[in-house]
Amino acid sequence: MYLSRHDVYSPRWHPGIKDWESQSGERPPEEEMPVRRRRRRERFGRRFQRWSKRSKIDYFDEEEGVRLDIIDLPGSYTIISPSTEDEKVTLRYLQQDTPDVIVNVVDATNLPRNLLLTTALLEFNIPMVVCLNQVDLARRMGIEIDAKKLEALLGVPVIPTVAVHGTNLKLLLRTAAKTGAIEGVQQKPRRMLFPDGIEAKLRTLERRLAKMQLCPMNLPLRIVALQLLEEYAQCAQCVESSQESEDAVKIVSKIRKDIEQEFDGDIVSILGEKRQQYAVYITEQVQHGKGKRVPLTEKISAVLTHRLAGLPIAALILIGSLLLIFAVGAIFEATVGEFWEAFINPTADYLITTFIPSPIVQIILFYGLVLGIQGWLFIAVPFVATFYIILSVLEDTGYLARIAFLLDAFMHRLGLHGRAIIPLLTGMGCNVPAVLGTRILNTRRERIIAGLLVVLVPCSAQLAVILGTVGLYASIFLAFIILGIVFAIIIGLGALLQHTLPGASHGLVMEIPPLRAPRLRPTLKKTWLRFREFVYIALPLIIIGGAILGLLLYFPTPDFSYLHIVSILAAPLVVGWLGLPPETAAALIYGILRKELTVELLVILANGPINLFMTARQMFVFALVTTLYIPCIATVAVLVREYRWKYTLILAFSTITLAFLVGGIVNWMLLGLGFP
């Protein structure tokens, strides 16, 4: 019987593993918190350095007297032979930065599937603590899990928790600290053993591998053997580049063939099946009650995903969210905005002119700090923050996953699949996290399409331009027409790319979590994690940009500044083709820095309300062009990092062309219809 297991079976071949006994001070456990897991899945992925920097959490345990650096790894289903980018990142981390202790977060409502990852992690010979999360939900579903028994079966500590309430989290971290500590309990993890037929062959393969001088992969040989058998491409490459590659390849394929013959099937299915059987076996030992999804939430879920009702409900929720954002924006403008204009700006102006003699520094301070922070605040608080709170709520309740399901087929027409809806929606807040979010897509084709569409999705700054010009001075109805045009362009371009780019979109496989009520703290925390990109990347750029704007406006002389020169040069295109006032050229160029600054600049240039200086047609064209043309500098920076220069340049060029083309056509159409 393959289910009989013996205690520690450890081919500790890897000399590179960090010996935690000799370490003092910093002990970084790695953590997989389900609360953040979904968020991680959409945002961090490709490059490990990136998220490791961002998702580090410090925790100081007074009792143990140790500091924990908690690193949040991307959510994974499997780890030995990863199939998604996220999983590859997790594997690379375990390989390269062997942590002192792993905190494996297991979903108690779905033990068998989660144990697949746990058993795989046990193969790594790294001390581990299992966090059995969502025990409350499991109980409601009729599942009781005997944590002590699970602990005995796995050979590692198991802590039942309810992360959203904070239940037992302290105990979890303390156990993690103890497990990774110097005088910590020596762990005796119990490994999963395959049936004899496979196990014997695995060991043969391990012995052969041990004799070869393979390039060091810093992994237990058993894992290397499994990877080779499962044809994990990266591992296979590693072996092929070594000297005895021919030998290794021959042995591996022979063993694979033997196993496939003996168990009748292909190796991936055979090993998967055995792992599944093992997980089910452990579950049967520790779990009482079969578990059914909670009937009430399932009923709600059924309505939300209903064939007929699903899409209208989704549309209502999305439109409602947009209206809420507009409402918050308007209230904020009416209260804080008025206050700011009335008190802060004059005070700051007075202070700067009184205490600072140099006019250059005055301009830098006033345009950079005072106006910059003002502009940032009025975008950040009402639009970005509100938007991300709504997005976090939609995500935490599990509704976002259902939208992905509902729109999957539609997204296929755009060459994407359901999961891409997440970066597209994120883009309505700020394009920077949205571009990063396109990492959740697996093929390059999908990422290229998603990159273009995300950049075209109007972000909150662009929404502010639309609302601040057309919405405020013409009619909110026109603002919605602009949004309609932009979304029509997005859909059209997506469909065009789907037909012209070679290849086809992969399908969607995505877990749909049970619906649950949102909770304040996790939601706020997640909002902050998204929002902080807007703080750290956008705010400094806005302040610098504001200062540069001030200088450009006042030099060489206030009456004939650099911006005037630019306006004159761009006049044929802006005035002739788009039918805009010549000053707007400067605003458009300035918009490359931050889109919402175009409005600010217009206000400055117009020296009063915009509607005295532009007609409704001009505002309409201006807002449309601003929404479509080259993404702001922060987005360009992220695009370069994610997609490299070539694609970024193509993207920038094509969006500019598109914006002027559409803007011009709309302008002439409106003129033709008799708009002034």
Binding site: Y77, T78, S81, S83, T84, T109, N110, P112, R113, L116, M141, E230, E231, K250, V252, S253, K254, R256, K257, E260, Q261, G265, D266, V268, S269, G272, E273, Q276, G291, K292, R293, A302, T305, H306, R307, L308, G310, L311, A401, A404, F405, L406, D408, A409, F410, H412, H417, G418, P502, G503, A504, H506, G507, L508, V509, M510, E511, I512, P513, P514
Partner: protein, 247 residues
């Protein structure tokens, strides 16, 4: 086998010239066979027409050469080509394609079972070997391998008269909302996809329930164990199932 019939493995498909063989069987060139096989595979996914663009992609050749070749094949009555829709196989073309497929799958068996070549490699090599297998040779291989009925990936080997014993016909997309079925196999040759689905617990023998079908395009919301997954129709088509027999 005559030397002329040996297709050099290192020659790219792009460069490969349609060489007529000098064997006593008047079998069309390797290139024609390759095209028909590719068209047949594309049409397997319940489509009526295969687009030339898709063909160019799977064959790794330029779209222009595909159009040229397709026109040539249409002249020889292997297929029907309509510019707007794509290509469709004639009975003659289908028969030949099935024959190539048979040889391909037999070659894969030979490579995997007798020579211990890996799956993925077997597919690539079989693409070349298939053109050099004569009917006698096929039968000999089958005999030696004790008459296998499927290729190593689990797809059926067509008979010599060109009929395929179909795999269990039912796939996930054929099920109605609320129905339950048991997974038979996941018929995809993409190892990554197999790994992903198996790591999510979608394995042969598991029970699946269709919870919800999306309004357009048949994306499925399925239940495996207590977990729910959204699964695109494209992928769901690859999951072959059978209904539970009521006892």
């Amino acid at each position: 086998m005559t030397p002329a019939s040996q297709t050099q493995p290192e020659v790219n498909k792009e460069e490969r010239k349609p060489t007529s063989r000098t064997s006593k069987y008047d079998i069309p060139s390797a290139n024609i066979e390759e095209y028909l096989e590719a068209i047949f595979r594309l049409l397997q996914n319940d489509k009526e027409y295969a687009k030339t663009g898709e063909l160019a992609e799977v064959l790794h050749v330029k779209p222009a050469s595909v159009t040229q070749m397709v026109q040539k094949l249409a002249e020889k009555k292997y297929l029907k080509y309509e510019k707007s829709k794509g290509v469709r196989l004639t009975t003659k073309g289908r028969k030949l394609a099935l024959d190539v497929l048979r040889r391909h799958r037999i070659a894969e068996r030979l490579l995997v079972d007798l020579l211990g070549v890996s799956w993925e490699e077997a597919h690539d090599v079989a693409c070349k070997w298939e053109h050099m297998l004569s009917p006698e040779l096929c039968n000999k291989v089958l005999e030696k391998l004790e008459e296998p009925v499927t290729c190593p990936h689990g797809n059926p080997i067509p008979d010599s008269d060109g009929t395929v014993t179909p795999l269990p016909e039912l796939t996930l997309v054929d099920l109605e909302q609320g129905e339950t079925a048991i997974i038979d196999c996941i018929s995809d040759e993409n190892v990554d996809l197999l790994r992903m689905m198996s790591s999510m617990g979608m394995l042969p023998g598991e029970t699946v329930r269709i919870v919800q079908i999306s309004p357009v395009g048949d994306t499925l919301l399925i239940e495996v164990g207590t977990a729910h997954f959204a699964l695109s129709a494209k992928l769901a088509k690859r999951v072959r199932v059978h209904r539970e027999v009521a006892e």
